[in-house]
């Protein structure tokens, strides 16, 4: 009956037992498994999951009065996230459940007839309608240009939870408004 170590369960023969080749094999396999366990953490520490995506410079077409989920066109970098293949990239899904720092920069690139209200948001948490972050800007004088906006927040995201997406909403007339978006996500900690 072999003994085992307390943390990794490395098996070893007890005194008085006959030592066989299997004992050496079990010992080596358990040490190997313990090393692999620590190595996986080391790899995660050295390569914290993160990603960044963006639209084309021309931006995405967003009609007035509707919440529009941004479709991204380009993956700037991707370490540990699932992002749909070209051309539809509406969301970034972390491959590890956890807490993530998320941010997005929205930049309207064209003039419309009038803008009265604009809102930028990041969505994801637990599939609820509540956003990770949302910010609104209102205009008290007649204008044709919307302002760039930045939003950021902490999201609970992952394969068994929700992906991260960016949403733009504006009120006004005519349009569409074309909105450039650059979204980033970075791992903070496990759940």
């Amino acid at each position: 009956m072999p003994g085992v170590t307390p943390t990794f369960g490395i098996r070893f023969p007890c005194q008085g037992e006959q030592i066989e080749c299997d004992d050496f094999r079990d010992f080596a396999e358990d040490v190997d498994a313990a090393l692999a366990d620590v190595s996986a953490l080391r790899t995660l520490a050295l390569n914290r999951p993160s990603a960044a995506v963006r639209t084309f410079d021309a931006g995405m077409s967003c009609p007035a009065g509707a919440a529009t989920t941004i479709i991204f066109d380009e993956v700037l970098y991707n370490n540990g996230m699932f992002i749909s293949a070209t051309p539809i990239k509406p969301a970034v899904l972390p491959l590890r459940d956890g807490i993530y720092m998320c941010s997005a920069e929205f930049s309207p690139v064209n003039a419309v007839t009038t803008v009265t209200l604009q809102s930028a948001a990041l969505h994801g948490d637990l599939g609820t309608a509540a956003p990770i972050a949302r910010r609104s800007l209102a205009r008290s004088v007649a204008t044709t240009d919307a302002y760039p906006m930045n939003v950021s927040g902490v999201g609970v995201l992952g394969p068994s939870l929700s992906p991260l997406s960016a949403v733009w909403t504006w009120s006004g007339t005519v349009g569409p408004m074309f909105v450039y978006c650059h979204m980033t996500i970075a791992f903070i900690c496990d759940l």
């Binding site: 003994g3 170590t5 307390p6 943390t7 990794f8 490395i10 098996r11 070893f12 023969p13 007890c14 005194q15 008085g16 037992e17 030592i19 004992d23 010992f27 358990d30 040490v31 313990a34 090393l35 366990d37 620590v38 953490l41 080391r42 995660l44 520490a45 807490i99 720092m101 009265t116 209200l117 809102s119 930028a120 948001a121 948490d125 609820t128 309608a129 509540a130 956003p131 990770i132 972050a133 949302r134 910010r135 609104s136 800007l137 209102a138 205009r139 008290s140 939003v151 950021s152 927040g153 902490v154 609970v156 009120s171 903070i188 900690c189 496990d190 759940l191």
Partner: protein
């Protein structure tokens, strides 16, 4: 038995072959202990202390008391041992605490260094909208045991406006960094307010506020 390498692992000598079982036991436990320490250190590095607070319900902020500090009343996530949510402390406010309560004996010191603090809320007028009235989220950090003047802002506000064009859902979003240089007693107060005179304002369910520890702002190496 002798020790070898930088981790002083046991190595059997010619005279020890009769004690192979004992050797494997010692070696196994030694590897277990040293790898366990490395795993613990890595896990601590990866699990950056973070608290997220929320409120599962809509909250009405009246015109008579247009500022509230009790919006956030539920812990959504907390992997730290030194942060928490104190309800009605001080009276009339729910605060995120870092370290032991202010003024109390220091039983839970906090790690000095850089913290990221932020939050988001959404507000909609219950009835009529006073055009371009304000909707705000104000986050204030107090570090009463700091021994040096604070670096960077201790307060951040996002103030937005409702133009009254319909729909409401006016969002506020705050994020900033602070350096905490004390020992204990830090409070993070989150105030939601509006200036809508025409009707009460609802703060929608699931607002989020968070504090996450980034790490020390300087590393002292002892050689």
């Amino acid at each position: 038995m002798q020790t070898i390498g930088t981790h002083d692992l046991a190595c059997v000598g010619e005279e020890d072959y009769a004690a192979l079982a004992l050797y494997m036991q010692c070696l196994g436990k030694d590897i277990d202990s040293k790898l366990g320490a490395q795993r613990s250190a890595l896990q601590s590095f990866l699990d950056r202390p973070t608290i997220i607070v929320t409120n599962p319900l809509d909250t009405v902020v009246t015109t008579g008391a247009p500022t509230i500090a009790t919006l956030f009343n539920t812990v959504h996530f907390n992997n730290s041992t030194f942060m928490g949510l104190a309800l009605n402390s001080p009276a009339g406010a729910n605060t995120i605490t870092i370290g032991s309560p202010a003024g109390a004996a220091v039983t839970v010191p906090y790690p000095r260094g850089v913290y990221i603090i932020g939050g988001t809320t959404r507000m909609t007028a219950v009835g009529a909208v006073t055009a371009f009235s304000r909707r705000g989220l104000n986050i204030t950090v107090q570090d009463p045991t700091a021994v040096v003047p604070p670096l960077g802002p201790r307060e951040a506000v996002d103030q937005t406006y409702d133009p009254g064009v319909g729909g409401g859902n006016i969002g506020q979003n705050v994020k900033f960094e602070v350096v905490l240089d004390g020992i204990s007693g830090v409070t993070v107060t989150l105030n939601s307010y509006h200036t809508n005179a025409a009707s009460n304002v609802t703060v929608h369910s699931r607002p989020f506020a968070y504090v996450t520890y980034v790490g020390p702002r300087d590393i002292v190496e002892v050689t």
